[in-house]
Symmetry: C2
Subunit: 210 residues, 2 copies
């Protein structure tokens, strides 16, 4: 596929067909992760492809209560109809075990360097050695005609996930990415802010282009 | 360009030509960031394209001491010759002001949700709403024939960077990405771990493919 089409049509997929993803396709998707940048090229990201039905069911059971809490905090009123996007995400959460591949994204703590760790704010920089690889996977899946969604709710129960998948002590979990054939066609136009709102030039708020 | 070629040949560029990047090209590169996923599609990432020569020089002057500390901590002996990769990165640091565009990546703190914040380890998850957009920019630059490098050392002096660029209090800095025409051709083969070392199946350490 042409690069630009891949970039512009990779949206979160929430409805998946149960059809298996062939090994050679999954291998090409995961291979894309390898080329992403990491701090000092230490390459500490790991992907655990969970296809075992029992483990997928356990991950689903861990995910659903976190999802319910998230929706409740987001202000959805009990009993009121959910917006379409939340409805789809709700369906995904409750049927997570039926997605053929659940990718658990991990990273070796020792390979991360958080240059913002001493600042008096939330630290984000260690993610710079993890999420570029995740984005490569989302894009590569799209190029193969597969849907994905970048989710992070499951990190809240990391100890349980690590126990389930025998993840070592010095390794963290950074995301859960469902991967499979999408029920619906890929989006033609994702809902995004215009360029002028997200890019500035030389000083905050100044237009990048005249 | 074909998607796969872009993914596999986007490496860190450390030697840049001083030639300006045309506005339409820079706009296409930055536009790619918009399509990346963010938590709840809140789209809190912002890019500040610094082309002003005086501000680029100030950013260089802030960066160089951080780079020197990094090299010293990395164990390079004073006076001893530096490995080629470090030599190139050293050149980049000292000539940062001569790269035509310095992208300062920012994010609204209020748009970030760190589901791993309460865990007894370094938080990384907020980066999941920032670095996918950064990776899109690195890839889109490559597709336009431009070099980039994802650097995060400058985050350590975030207060000074925010003052220089009038970045609001509720916004953080997440990376500095130099962008320009590369001196050398793009890499044909990046140095990366094989797939079998970075992907597992169903349980840590188990092969993903039989």
């Amino acid at each position: 596929m042409e690069f630009r089409e891949v970039i512009e049509t990779t949206g979160a997929c929430r409805l998946y067909r149960p059809d298996a993803v062939p090994d050679d396709v999954l291998a090409r998707v995961l291979d894309a992760a390898r080329w992403a940048p990491t701090g000092g090229n230490r390459q500490g990201v790991r992907f655990l492809a969970v296809r075992d039905p029992v483990k997928r069911k356990t991950l689903r059971d861990l995910y659903v209560p976190l999802w319910e809490q998230y929706v409740a905090r987001a202000g959805a009123r009990p009993g009121a109809p959910l917006p379409k996007l939340i409805q789809d995400a709700d369906h995904m959460a409750r049927h997570l075990d039926q997605v053929p591949v659940l990718l658990v994204v991990c990273a070796h703590l020792g390979d991360l360097l958080a240059t913002d760790r001493h600042l008096d704010r939330l630290s984000v920089v260690a993610g710079g050695s993890i999420y570029p690889a995740v984005q490569n996977v989302l894009l590569a899946a799209r190029a193969e005609g597969l849907g994905t969604a970048l989710t992070t709710l499951l990190c809240a129960v990391e100890p349980q996930v690590k126990e389930l998948l025998a993840i070592p002590a010095d390794v963290l979990t950074a995301a859960l990415v469902p991967l499979g054939h999408p029920v619906h066609p890929f989006p033609r136009k994702l809902a995004r802010r215009p360029l002028s709102e997200v890019c500035f030039g030389d000083s905050w708020g100044e237009p990048a282009f005249r």
